[in-house]
Amino acid sequence: MSNIPTELKYTKTDEWVLLGEDGVATVGITDFAQQQLGDMVYVELPEAGATIDAESECGVVESVKTASDLYMPVAGEITAANALLADQPEKINADPYGDGWIYKFRPADAGDLDTLLDAAAYQSKLDADDH
């Protein structure tokens, strides 16, 4: 069973999103995604300042097993990337919702985040994929 915190928003591509009070959103991959990918060994991070469209590729996480693209949940500008992951990509496995966060961005329109899945909808998506 994977952990799906209720305070987060989710994408269909297994990212989580947390909008901070400063209007900046933090993104990582879900516990389910890190379990599926297995041990992380490399992360290609987006660069701060980049403006990226919704659902466009913005980075890559690679486990021993495979490479998986990261997608921008909604349009916005990258404000930071988690430098810790360059040397410790395994933080994504150990703490996917904490130290394993991947990047932060400022949404072009914070209202766009309402289009993302809530925890219950993400759980339903995982259940549906399982059948």
Binding site: G38, Y42, V60, K65, A67, N93
Partner: protein
Amino acid sequence: MVDFSGWEMPIHYGSQIQEHHRVRNDVGMFDVSHMTVIDVEGQDAQAFLRYLLANDVARLKLPGKALYSCMLNAEGGVIDDLIVYFIDDGNYRMVVNAATREKDLEWITNQARAFAVSVDERPELAMIAVQGPNAEQKLSAVIDAGQHEKLQELKPFHALWMGPWFVARTGYTGEDGFEIILGAEQAVGLWKKLAAAGVAPVGLGARDTLRLEAGMNLYGTDMDETVTPLESGLAWTVAWEPAERDFIGRSALERQRRQKPRHKLTGLLLEDKGVLRNHQKVLIPGVGDGEITSGSFSPTLGKAIAFARVPAEAGSEASVEIRGRLLPVRLVKAPFVRHGKPCV
């Protein structure tokens, strides 16, 4: 769990990297019952296998001795790679791949028609590999003292009977270890005893990174029927002498040897961060392009490593194209790791 040639097998039981390190530093066990065991018996067994295989079973003088060989088609293409054990006169055991089981059995059976031999698949047998520097010591927990003494004396690439078990000091990891072939009905019991003795299970994922670090080819990715052993880093497994021994594929191989193979299989090491993957393009300026056949991340080295098929003239430098970017790689001679120690 994944479907592996009809066998349901785990990629990992927990962390693939931890399983890898466990085998390098301690001991781990693999359920490799998917491997196909074939017994070849009869008065012509030696003559048949000297014709069937590119390596020469006449090199096997002592009962229990093992030999790694390719089985070739008439064009010198690799039908499969395998280990053959000399049990005693007129009695050999081969272990071939699971993915090639059907075509191997058909090929071997057809070739055997001209010889006084029987070819018998042994689907009732299972196989457990116990691998790592502490393999021999840990096995003492599941066998008696007399048997353990025999195991201690068993040389690498030799096998012996331990009651109904066929135990070989062989493996696919580059570490000391044993492969135990036994009746499927006994396999679960042995697995549980080994687990109780502290031998952790290891999945297919770590099996792949361990064999890649150890410089061992994987059939179907590093070589297949479209390439010869000379283009696959396996020239050392072809027994050219005695010159009068006729084996399937010999004349094609000799022709290629005279004309020099156009490609070779090499090791690659990526110094930068990133991961090498199967089918990535290898660029060698002024020489030509190649392709990665097996790429992954080496947990022991903390870097990406690969096998690649490249033009024979390639030197020691190349680039690999990863998502549109060119990253420099070094061409190195495998193995990358042996007995827990880096060699590149």
